[in-house]
Symmetry: C2
Subunit: 391 residues, 2 copies
């Protein structure tokens, strides 16, 4: 491949994990543009709604799920018992002699990786309605965008309800297109067939995790088992374990590798969310970009908070319950007092221990996993980065 | 096959269109039970939410989309250039000598047909949120069911918002399972591949139609072109044309048959919705089960109403606009006056003419379509029934 071709096709089947976000960004833009064109005949009003989805998707995101899916594929290919033939089907026997084919296969992989971002778009757009969030990544949320348009144009009826309604629908559209992009990716039919149970599980688990999240918030549960179940399905499975699983299954990894990656993914994912719990209480607002003591102000019963309530004596628990969920009412001193209680109960240290244990277990499993040096190193670094992050 | 076997497997690859609803009902129950079991380990609260989806799906519906999809398959098989081999793949060469195989293929077809009802469940559950509907088929809508549970249990936060949130999520779950059931139906991989563009178009079009519907309601459009575009995508494509198209593509119909069925489906679907417009104004509440002059009371700008506004003189249009959307305020005499105006503008007769022209064109195309006598007759009868119905 010449330098020119590399410049226009920077993504290939040897790309490192770190190359995923930029490559996925490009592919998403392309797919969105094509799809918008494909359905532009329906009506300009529909076109305008699709544009909101497009802006939402291209305006950032760390592309974590595509990255783990690529890690799963590479793990399968680099010592995990998989093959390019299993992934891409016929035509992969002699990739070196067929650069055009190779490029088609690279694109197929990139399509499949990008499809995870459409599921994420649906999840976030619908979550933002449920959480009544006004902004996401510094931009108005989808339902607020539709609401503003309605208001600016002086349209009939409730602007607020109109915003929610259109956001429900473009979330649905994103979910439909996730399946279209994934199943029409160009990956081999056998690959898609092998990964079908994992694809099904991922989508069901993230929805189930969210159903559970709002149910335990509503029933006032302070049970660590409940908050942990939310972590398990809404974050760990969906964000790490299943993307790794799907990638590995697509590329035909052996059962031992698949199981190892799923366990590693579950550990990394749980540690990732527990880190989020810690940052939600102890994080530096200058670094996280979120308000100081964000989870304390919202009063969300995270695993960290529930652990503190469980461990605290009666006075500590009472003080915590009284101080949580006060929003802007809490002064910085109030927040600091709540932090001290959580620290004093030993919950902060316990959660830190849980994070460390999971991260270490994941890294040891990876090192003993028999995969190639490159993917082992890259995945280990990613695990460290996600679980030790400060934002 | 013995009589006993027939009783326990009443569905087979020669079943008439009229057999679809009962067969789909049974298959949906089975799939929902299996799926509920498959994810029962997550949490009883999730199980309870899935139960709401199950009740929603099994509590009726006419199974119109599965019926048209089966019509598309049969059209392909009965003179349309398709084959059982195209539909079900290897193993269909000698069906008569392999009753076990035949049963597996029947099940695969039934899975694919049933999957349309999961899309419909998502569409209806989300539509009911958007339309703020309290009941559906005589039962509380999904968001109202979750809302009641929340209230009865004295849970925290807004019962209304909780209901909407959980209903958004189980609608999403239904949408995910539609794809799972369809792509995992057991139909041949080539069949699914052939039908992919139609499957994509159907899902995008129904969402786009709904986006358009609420946008033109909000912007106050009284343009016949706008209300007709909603009919075209939200109803005709989604309910008739695309299910026929998907069925035909799955079974490998020739291009001529596919195009004929798509046109026929578009005509039947448009006539079906225009009949709905007529019944919404002129229908007998004793027969329709809906309030007298339902569309007049809601003030929805249907094609019939827009046609009346377009044709009416200034006095008629003013009287119409003034009288529409008054809900319970309108007396039976008010409704009767509005009906008279719509009749006098010629809109009623014009819409009747549109229905008749579409129905006749569809029937003529079917008769000239070169398909077998059975499917031609059954589809013709179905077209007549749907477009001449009184409820």
């Amino acid at each position: 491949m010449s330098t020119d071709e590399q410049a226009s096709h920077p993504w290939n089947l040897e790309s490192p994990l770190s190359a995923v976000p930029a490559a996925v960004d490009t592919q998403l833009q392309k797919y969105l543009q094509q799809s918008q064109q494909e359905f532009s005949h329906i009506n300009p009003l529909v076109d305008g709604a699709i544009a909101v989805l497009r802006d939402f998707i291209v305006n950032g995101g760390k592309r974590v799920r595509p990255t783990f899916a690529w890690a799963g594929i590479r793990a399968a290919l680099e010592g995990g018992g998989g093959s390019l033939d299993a992934l891409c089907g016929i035509g992969m026997d002699a990739p070196s002699s067929a650069p055009a084919e190779l490029s088609a296969h690279s694109t197929a992989v990139l399509n499949a990786l990008s499809s995870f971002e459409f599921i994420q778009a649906c999840a976030l757009i619908h979550d933002d309605i449920i959480d009544r969030s006004d902004t996401r990544r510094g931009f108005p949320t989808a339902h607020r965008t539709f609401e503003s348009r309605h208001r600016e144009r002086g349209w009939l009826g409730s602007s607020q309800h109109y915003g929610v309604s259109q956001a429900i629908l473009i979330g649905d559209l994103a979910f439909a297109w996730a399946d279209d992009l994934y199943n029409g990716s160009g990956l081999s039919i056998n690959a898609l067939h092998r990964a079908r149970p994992a694809w099904r599980a991922m989508r069901t688990e993230v929805i189930a995790g969210q159903i559970l999240d709002i149910a335990v918030e509503a029933n006032g549960s302070e049970d660590v088992a409940d908050s942990f179940a939310v972590i398990k399905y809404k974050t760990a499975s969906y964000t790490v374990a299943r993307p790794l699983h799907i990638g590995a299954a697509l590329a035909g990894a052996g059962e031992r590798t698949v199981n190892m990656l799923r366990n590693v993914g579950q550990d990394i994912g749980e540690a990732f969310q527990l880190r989020d719990d810690q940052l939600g209480v102890f994080g530096d607002p200058e670094v996280t970009g979120k308000p100081s003591g964000d989870d304390l102000r919202t009063g969300k019963r995270t695993t960290l908070i529930n652990e503190a309530l469980r461990r605290g004596d009666a006075a500590q628990a009472t003080a915590l319950r009284k101080g949580l969920g006060k929003g802007e009412e809490s002064t910085e001193a109030d927040i600091e007092r709540l932090r001290d209680i959580i620290h004093d109960t030993g919950a902060q240290a316990e959660v830190e221990k849980l994070i460390e244990a999971r991260t270490q277990r994941a890294i040891e499993s990876l090192r003993a996993g028999g995969l190639g040096a490159d993917i082992t190193t890259e995945l280990t670094q990613l695990a460290e980065k996600l679980t030790h992050r400060r934002f």
